[in-house]
Symmetry: C2
Subunit: 204 residues, 2 copies
């Protein structure tokens, strides 16, 4: 009997390495699906619709909000970003595991709508390392770096809402932990095992 | 910071292969500790006290029952068998994971006393396979084989009490699933992660 898939929400503060961990996971486990976000922002050079994002016109996005077609959405500066429900639910029903990389605010929105999700929080090995990673990325002003770190501390206070945490001190270790979590959740006792047992009883 | 260990209770019907799976797990992951049972039965040739069992005199065993020193115990024919608490709790406090292979009745006794345990149920690939394994073992009369299978069906009804299930269709697959469960549980959000976060906050 085919198991139903699970939604794994990978979350953590800015700079912790969510993107790198998820990218490497998908490289070593290509059978896992990645949830693709929708956005109203302009497509940048090299970005592909349906791969990097679903690029939507603002009125289309707003109509989808109206129709409750997002697991979560947020306004960032002047653009809207969101996770369309449809693809996620379709893949779960096909029995595929699906991964969603998201910021902590989005994760908590999803938790309200989709409590069956498995919530994984990535932690840096130390705050020192997180600060250095943000600096090395070279995208932020001094002021912004301070803001991002302050934000990280606030996000840590919500860690009790998550099922698992992974300390991202080396990439392959973090990816292996994530794979273990995905495999273990595939063994979790829920509805599907009752199906299996019903089948065994028919064998009598 | 050292994580606290977890107790993994591996359970399943007679003939499903609990012993083989646990033995292989300990071979590939020697850092995992095995809980050793105590018994009042006679030591057999080749068995070593403190390795196969703790061999106890009946009055010593009964005194330990009196002192609530067992996680579970049972009378099988005329002998007493039980899981001493002391070793399990000591290893958990040292941060070691510990595995306990036990029949479903014992598992449910442990669950009452030690709800922090992680309960894993091994299932056969089919009832046909379970029957064949019991027959091939060559220990049981026809009557006993019937009894064991009837017993297995009754035990299946308690599967909702378990956290995880593993279908033991091939040894390495089953062991890998068990390893994934152990690793994932090491990532579970509980008290220790709050310690980590407290430490991060001191870094400010």
């Amino acid at each position: 009997m085919k198991k139903k898939g699970s939604l794994f929400v990978v979350c953590g503060p800015s700079g912790v390495g969510k993107g790198t961990v998820c990218k490497e996971l998908l490289r070593v486990r290509p059978e896992i699906k990645l949830s693709i976000s929708a956005t109203t922002r302009e497509r940048r050079k090299g970005e592909i619709d349906g791969v990097n994002y679903y690029f939507l016109k603002r009125n289309k996005f707003e109509q989808m909000i109206e129709n409750d077609e997002f697991l979560e959405y947020a306004k960032v500066y002047d653009n809207l970003y969101g996770t369309p429900k449809k693809y996620v639910l379709e893949e779960l029903n096909k029995g595929n595991d699906i991964i969603l990389e998201i910021d902590p605010q989005g994760a908590m929105q999803i938790k309200e709508k989709f409590s069956d999700g498995i919530f994984v929080f990535l932690l840096p090995p130390s705050m020192e390392v997180l600060r250095n990673r943000i600096i090395e990325r070279g995208r932020d002003s001094k002021e912004n770096i301070k803001k991002r770190l302050k934000c990280a501390y606030e996000e840590f206070d919500f860690i009790r809402e998550y099922d698992y945490y992974i300390i991202n001190d080396d990439l392959s270790g973090a990816v292996n932990s994530l794979i273990a979590i995905i495999e273990a959740e595939g063994c979790r006792v829920k509805g599907d095992v009752l199906e299996i047992i019903r089948k065994y009883k028919e064998e009598i």
